[in-house]
Symmetry: C2
Subunit: 401 residues, 2 copies
């Protein structure tokens, strides 16, 4: 058959196989899709300093965090009750997963309280490590207050513990043969860090790292068209148990046809975010500090939530004493300004932010904090307008509060 | 502030909240997204004859099936070991989930063998129901051989069992108070049925029903841009336990920001598929039967896999005795024809199709079956070309096999 004839007769008779480019199909359309999938995987692996087979595509950050935490705990089943450690300001997809596993009697949990500046003390993490601790999960940067956790210092504490316990022969006695080097495994939820912080897993010293496509600027630039996709970096030596039963996709850990169009956009957006990271970090840091200065100059009683230095360049989070932040967000929205009062993932609850509560347990939960999170398109003019709008709103609200 | 001024100042300071339209955000952009999400949910609910709060959006069919099966089993924990029933030709996301739950000692499982025509006998399902049976999961239509299962008949058997066991007072003794009406719960994986069969949950009599966006024609028409999305219909009275820890999205059962662009496309595509269902079913049925007649007229030893009548209008699955179907798929691909030899979800395994094996246990697994699955764009000309290509390939291969 001539080549031109072949071109005339491209017949697709694989409609039942999902999208017209299922990377698991063995015909040529499937092979093309497979190559594209692997190229995206390579792109992501390069940025993280990881190997190709260490990148698992998932449906988003929530699934990545669940696969990391549940995956370690489930892989441990039958070897005694495992113990896992996290902090009290993690994203719900970490904190609630810990509570889920505790409720199902699959794990003992320790939740370490952060300091009043929203940063966890690595020594306090270390002090919680026990003989049966299989996992430490600490977020890279907080989603509400933007504080950056000392990942490398925590990693050093974990490594020190491993070395010491090995010396005492503890691990070999307590853990299945050969696994003494592995536990506790270190996971970080890097979802909010993706645009601004170093993502090299070698330098960070993490075994598991979660990212979400929806938090990468560019992945969603055009009306959020990238769809939902996430990754879990899993160090080759770490054994996870899958959550879903199903097909063999993603080294057997994530069944279901891969979301190829979203994965391609994810890898491109990640690369582009990396390219402008330094410049954007610099620009947004000075914008953020300008915002803080303007806020503190206002004649209202304001508290800044979270450390001022170790914080994402795009995050501003403040509490206006006595004024409920939900109300402020709605008033700001009327003036065309979209801000947030707590994690959107928690917004159907009537309670205030648990993150703000963790910083000031004595404060009124209902007041909470208002988060302004900036991006590529945010300008100084936007900040000036926001300050002006806030001033008008607060002047009005002051009469009632 | 004047309206025009407001328009000039639309400032987005919620970059940390995922996509620029997080349905859980309380500002106006979030509210708009929430309305769109609910409109899509309403569209889907209408088509299924369900209520708004009975539709849960997930990341795809695999997750929907897992949420249904694991959800029932996990909700049962602490009340004794539950028993669950399925068939031996289910999709891996059902069959492997059953095996996962058995391996984790969370459930007893029964796997009912289908008849040689690929259809399960409802009586055989009924015979497996025990006092601790909490779930029966039978697919609506098979992904490889297209056979349509007698869902309504199985439903009648289950209802009969419920009535009888209630009369004997069994349920009240065995099950927690008030749940006698519920068990066994009936789930169907309707992923492959979506384009051609009746999806009214009331008429089908199911409690749980899974759909996947990637199998709806139109959802992926433009290069698969709909992304991965699925739904689980959950009858209001059924209690499920979530799989993921995280936010409160999707009545708490599916944490993670909703994939709104994909959800909107899903609901539109589902509606459009419903609108042309009858016409397409008629057209494809005659095309399918034309294909079968042509195949049977060929001078080769051919076996048709699966019942000829109770079968999806777009599915043709055949075995060429002695010739490995993987080889045939590759040869067809060279001629520009994309077919399939087994579920793409299983393609990384060297074994042949377990579905074909279930129909003819004595057959050589490696030979398997070749599936041609047609769609909106498939024409009679495509079938003629495929028959011609097959004839050329088989003539060539006959020399070696």
């Amino acid at each position: 058959m001539s080549k031109s004839m072949r071109k005339l007769n491209k017949i697709y008779l694989d409609y039942a196989a999902s999208v017209k480019a299922n990377p698991s199909s063995i015909h040529s359309a499937g092979m093309e899709a497979k190559i594209k999938l692997q190229n995206s995987r390579k792109e992501v692996a390069n940025i993280l300093g990881a190997r190709l087979e260490e990148i698992i595509f998932t449906s988003g950050g929530t699934e990545s965090n669940n696969l990391a935490i549940q995956g370690v705990v489930l892989a441990w089943q039958g070897k005694g009750l495992p113990h896992i450690i996290t902090t009290n300001i993690e994203h719900p997809s970490v904190l609630k997963t810990f509570k889920l596993l505790e409720r199902r009697k699959l794990a003992q949990i320790s939740i370490v309280a952060v300091e009043p500046n929203g940063i966890v003390d690595p020594k306090k993490i270390k002090n919680e490590i026990k003989k049966n601790t299989v996992l430490v999960s600490v977020m890279y940067a907080n989603n509400e207050i933007g504080t950056i956790q000392p990942i490398k210092e925590i990693m050093k504490e974990i490594r020190h513990y491993k070395k010491t316990s090995r010396k005492q022969g503890l691990s070999l006695r307590e853990f299945p043969q050969g696994q003494s080097l592995l536990f506790p495994i270190f996971h970080t939820d890097a979802v909010q860090a993706v645009n601004y912080l170093d993502l090299n897993v070698e330098k960070l010293g993490v075994d598991l790292l979660s990212l979400s496509g929806s938090k990468i600027e560019g992945a969603t630039a055009k009306a959020g068209q990238a769809g939902r996709v996430g990754i879990l970096y899993k160090k080759k030596t770490i054994k996870l148990e899958k959550i879903f039963g199903g097909g063999d996709q993603e080294i057997g850990l994530r069944p279901g046809t891969e979301n190829l169009p979203a994965i391609i956009k994810f890898s491109k957006a990640l690369k582009s975010a990396q390219n402008i990271k330094e410049k954007e970090t610099e620009r947004l840091t000075s914008l953020r500090d300008y915002f803080f200065v303007k806020l503190l100059k206002m004649p209202f009683n304001i508290k800044i939530n979270g450390d001022l230095q170790n914080r994402l360049p795009n995050n501003v989070n403040i509490t206006f004493l006595k004024i409920p932040s939900d109300l402020l967000v709605i008033e700001l929205s009327v003036k065309g300004i979209m801000a947030s009062s707590k994690s959107a993932c928690e917004s159907s609850r009537a309670e205030g932010s648990y993150v703000i509560k963790a910083l000031r347990p004595e404060a009124n939960g209902e007041v909470g904090g208002v988060r302004f999170s900036m991006g590529r398109k945010t300008t100084k003019k936007d900040i000036d307008y926001t300050i002006k709008a806030l001033s008008q709103i607060l002047t009005k609200l002051k009469k009632w509060y």
